[in-house]
Amino acid sequence: MKIAVCVKQVPDTSDPDTEVHIDSSGKGVDQSKFSFVINDADNFAVEEAILLKEKHGGEVVVVNVGSEAANQVIRMALAKGGDSAVRLDDEKFAGSDPVALARILQAGIKDLGCDVVLTGCLASDDGYGAVGVALAALMEVPHAAYVKTVEVLNGTLKIGRELEGGLLEMDEISTPCVLTIQTGGNEPRYASFKGIREASKKEIKVMDLAATGLSEDQVGEAGSVAVMVQYSVPVVGELAEILEGDANETAGKLAGILKEKGLV
């Protein structure tokens, strides 16, 4: 089974020190203080790809659209069991919406003859939840979004899509197909030292615009159907009353409030 898994490098928004500030252009954010990690859902997608390979044999190709800095997350996926990688990198790719991104990803995997393409269900930064489904449409293969369980049947896959309230919709889907992987369906492994050592020898093929065979007007903003033109700070209603002081003081104030409200 040949599997491609798409991984995105995103700012670590679970880090309390990651501040999101709109830059002077209004179209970007100040990235200087970000620490970067693999997108949460992509981490589960990588694990699913490796589990499939371990059970059914085959090969896992890690695919990314990003700059050299993204090699960090690519190498980690290779260390966990990915076999090779493709990184699509060109300044013309900047500003791509999910359609343009899917087009770039497709160019990166079209010659691989994949049986299964996995993406995350949602990127934690811009969160379109659309790239995987768009990719399937471009590849003209069936897809399923928010997939939490994958089981290989005879020539098809049995998958569980997670819906609101945690309800699983079980479907059967033929290959080749694209699955967008939801978090929590497996236990992403840690890379071993041996894996990390071996990953440094694995190939990361870099493709620029020319190598993709796409034209300038198919990528970036030009190739997008919807463009983010201006960031703004959300207008929020009433914020919480912030209790001031050190932990002892705030805890004391809170205990007092809870008592007053009859909650203690």
């Binding site: 999101v20 997670e162 978090t183 159907v225 960031y231 919480a240």
Partner: protein, 320 residues
Amino acid sequence: MHEIFVLAEHRQGELRDINFEMLTLAGKFDSKVTTVLLGSGVDDFASKLAPFSDKVLVVDDPMFESFNALDYQAALKALIEQEKPHLVIIPNTGQGADILASLALAMEASFTSDIIGLEIEGDKPVATRAFYGGKINGRIEFKDADLYMVGLREGAIPAGEGTKSGEIVKVDNPVGATAENRKFLEYVQPEIGDVDITQSAMLVSVGRGIREDKNLPMIEDLAKLLGADVSGSRAVVDAGWLPTDRQVGISGKTVKPKLYLALGISGAFQHVTGMKGSDVVVAVNKDPDAPIFQYADYGIVDDLLKVVPAMIDKIKELKG
């Protein structure tokens, strides 16, 4: 905008709330609002949707008893080609997100997903979406097209009252045969555990901010003192630190306790959807910009690993 299509969502015999949110959004524009209802034996749904629609276009066929993205897409494609709406609003849900991008590409429509707001400027829609877990918003402009499509986030638009009485029009199923390469099998209900957090009077809820599961006993101590149950965000459940049935949020449980104490939870919309009906919300988070503070009554900007032990002490003192 001449005509707006709204795709109705139903599941296991129930119309979902998002329908009335989408229809309220569509209703604020000066356009004909057509609700597209694909289902089997759905007369009752059609009559519930009619007060919010100028027309309810119904395809009543056993093919649509359950959701299948490929069949839905084929039907919508045919109906859109026939009626030529200018805007299609789809729920940004487990069903809707499974068709939005592929349908839009098939229709050569300009689209975006997970919007929280929409305006029409000139004859074109302009959308608002949230970025970076709700920390900033972005304005989305579309490339000129004959058709625009958007996926609306659940809970983003408060549903209004239905004041119309749209005609219900049944049409033949435009799809010849169900898709060969994807088939619906069955629904599997989530597991039920020992505690039903939807009934809890108080919840101490933890997020990824607790860092390691070895910090859980301290959370349990605090919960025990308060007489509360422990719940958590999806991140904590994904990590295996709490069982699935303790998850609060859109893909977990909707809770409405008297006290919801959110510890190290950022306040992603998928989480907030499940807890915003709580009476008193208290958030402890190290990040003063965490969106959870928008939904909390009281906030503490500090390390929860310091605040929780201090709270345990203070509450013990109170209780004497």
